[in-house]
């Protein structure tokens, strides 16, 4: 048996260390990562994938800890992927989400993995969707993905999760204004955390007012929590389960998952076309295209079209 088969079979046998190493291989785009992922894929699709997103400091990690414990009380196994931003300058990262999830360490039914975003935009790491599949293949019943603290357009989680929980807090009035454009639209369940703080009810009112304008049926509910005390967390988990049950019953969940997979495939077409185009171009052509830009003879779109044409030639030749 080759090493590849061994790692895949160990992941399928729910070996956490094998899963951990598999995720590292994916993060590093290591040789063999893609083929092993392809082998794991038929064994995925069973887990419920829950996204937790919201502005920095809203209490995402603390809420996640409480939600994981609620699922553990129901006998479910849970995987957590907690994404924190990488420095765009040095590539380094401080991954601190685990500090708020201390009570989960040592529970064999929980696997927590911190992921650096590694310059990927959108609030997730590039490797996150694949890491979700590894946890799924490991037999985790529930997978919680915590995004980096988001602003206006970090909505990649909506393309991965079955249900997205949007967490905010009181006093973030301007924050909600900022969220309304993109982030507000991806929430399936809304949470106002730190509800003992002044303005919690007002924040809920504002959220409800914005959700009313969206014409979604059923309109998402807005729940109040004090996640550090555990207050309201059970209701969040119940709301998430109700959302998933309804969507599963109506077939919408399955359609949503198919859409996510199709979009991922489309994105890969773009990424691979880019890689192959760049690999096809020789240095002289690159210099010539660059010169056309420098002299402002051709705009970036024209240059891109010429580069892609070179890719076609290369394919026809072989």
């Amino acid at each position: 048996m080759t090493e590849d088969d061994d790692l895949v079979s160990r992941v399928l046998a729910r070996d956490q260390r094998a899963g951990a190493r598999m995720i590292t291989l994916i993060e590093n785009d290591a040789p063999g990562a893609a083929s092993r992922l392809a082998e794991l894929f038929p064994h995925t699709g069973r887990a419920a994938v829950i996204g937790v997103t919201g502005p920095p400091g809203a209490g995402k990690s603390t809420l996640v800890e409480g939600m994981v414990r609620a699922w553990r009380d129901r006998g479910r196994t849970v995987g957590v992927l907690a994404v924190d931003p990488s420095s765009p300058f040095t590539g380094g990262a401080i991954l601190g989400d685990r500090i708020r999830m201390a009570s989960l360490t040592g529970d064999p039914g929980v696997y927590v993995r911190s992921m650096a975003s590694r310059a990927h935009l959108g609030g997730l790491a590039e490797a996150t969707p694949a890491a979700v599949r590894v946890l799924d293949a490991m037999g985790m019943d529930v997978i919680v993905v915590e995004t980096v603290g988001v602003g206006q357009s970090e909505i990649a989680i909506a393309g991965t999760a079955d249900c997205t929980v949007l967490v905010t807090m009181p006093g973030a009035g301007d924050g909600i204004q900022a969220m309304k454009a993109g982030v507000l639209e991806i929430g399936d369940v809304f949470v106002v955390n730190k509800a003992d703080r002044e303005g919690a009810l007002r924040t809920r009112r504002e959220l409800n007012a914005m959700l009313r304008m969206q014409d979604r049926t059923p309109r998402p509910v807005v729940l109040l929590t004090k996640a550090d005390m555990g207050d309201g967390v059970e209701q969040v988990v119940r709301q998430v389960e109700e959302f998933l049950d309804t969507r599963r019953g109506s077939g919408q969940l399955q359609k949503r998952r198919l859409r996510h997979l199709e979009r991922e495939a489309l994105e890969l077409i773009g990424a691979q076309a880019r890689r192959r185009t760049l690999a096809t171009l020789d240095q002289a052509t690159i210099d010539e295209l660059s010169e056309a830009l420098w002299e402002r003879r051709q705009d970036p779109a024209t240059v891109a079209a010429r580069a892609l044409a070179a890719l076609q030639w290369a394919d026809n030749d072989c």
Binding site: E3, L7, Q16, S87, I94, R98, A102, R118
Partner: protein, 134 residues
């Protein structure tokens, strides 16, 4: 994508002296490392976290004494789990006499007061171990 050095930087939960560890976390980030920052109660938690996070390096900071049993349990626990590709280093207030014992346990370096963050970064870069696919 380049392989990045991933470090678990951890200190005892009861030990409030976290300034050094936090400072080092920033310096490690600036050196391009990915740093998982946690507190721990017992050595088993360090091992469980290191394996889930699949780190290259474990850095244990202790400034309130009681570090020897932690390192002993950590090293024997890692050996029991057949983990031989993770570099373990120490930091904080650890006397030289203890550091010599730790070296014998497989903790090759301790970065105490006066040690520069750069020296810790360089040490990690030089001594981080080649890790197998499985």
């Amino acid at each position: 994508m380049a392989n990045r050095i991933k470090v678990l930087l951890t200190k005892p939960t009861h030990d409030a002296h976290d300034r050094g560890a936090r400072y080092l976390a920033r310096k490690f980030r600036d050196a391009g490392f990915e740093v998982v920052f946690t507190n721990f109660l017992v050595a088993e938690e360090i091992i469980a976290t290191a394996l889930q996070e699949d780190v290259d390096v474990i850095g244990v900071s202790s400034s309130a004494g009681g570090h020897m049993p932690v390192f002993e349990e950590l090293m024997s626990g890692l050996a029991a789990a057949s983990v031989d590709d993770v570099l373990v280093i120490g930091g904080g207030i650890i006397p030289d006499v203890d550091a010599r014992v730790l070296a014998g346990l497989g903790v090759p370096a301790v970065f105490g007061p006066g040690a520069s963050a750069e020296s810790a970064v360089e040490f990690i870069k030089e001594h981080v171990r080649q890790r197998s696919a499985v």
